[in-house]
Point group: C2
Chain length 106, copies 2
DNA sequence: TCCCTGTATGACAATACGCGCATTATGCCT
DNA sequence: AGGCATAATGCGCGTATTGTCATACAGGGA
């Protein structure tokens, strides 16, 4: 059994990925570095919201930024999220497959 | 870019793991099948709460149950959560390592 | 059949979180 | 220094979620 502290850390991490808005930001940044204006354009969220979400992702080490004058250029940091999503995708596929077979048997 | 629907599915899945209570249940069940009384004993949560959380995990295919008279025996289903946690753990370690080096440099 | 044990569900309080608006802080340019 | 663009923060509202208590439901044994 993992310690309660570790469970807490895990859950906090997964919580970051439990919001479509944040996943969306991560996916956009995965394509390449972007400034905040582009993210606003791409997602339709308010500047304040995006700023906060990026802050959270940054604290978790999932994104990183570099200042360029007053603008800030953000980019995804690491491939962890890709790997996690790949695993989940595999699972989702399996489940759909299973449901499909279930239907065909019936 | 994944479709919004897919992002939604991912986030819903990760949301399941974003709660220490649910992770805790998963971890206990990973050790082997347990009945609800044992889970109450082990976690200290109320029966109703455990019932609900197990329901969510079951719908996602993360746990599975078999009736044994009036009792219900639950067990973890699949290794996905282990794999996800292993990935996250690696990341956590890396980050702590980095912080450590940062401190030593300073 | 009635009771007794164990599970699921309805109602509710407390809390956390998403999201935007308005404001403030920060850095560049003239 | 003053003004302008951009990013961060305070605040508030609405909604979703956690967790409990009380209650309804199901299955086995006398």
């Amino acid at each position: 059994m993992p310690s309660p502290q570790l469970l807490e850390e895990y859950s906090q991490f997964f919580r970051l990925l439990s919001e479509p808005a944040r996943l969306q930001l991560l996916c956009h940044l995965k394509q390449g570095p972007l400034d905040v204006a582009s993210l606003i354009e791409a997602t339709g969220f308010s500047q304040s919201h995006i700023s906060r979400q990026l802050g959270q992702l940054q604290r978790a080490g999932l994104v990183r930024c570099e200042r360029e004058g007053t603008r800030t250029i953000w980019q995804a940091d690491g491939v962890l999220v890709d790997e996690l999503c790949a695993l989940v995708q595999t699972r989702l596929k399996q489940r759909l497959q299973a449901q499909l077979e279930q239907l065909q048997v019936t």
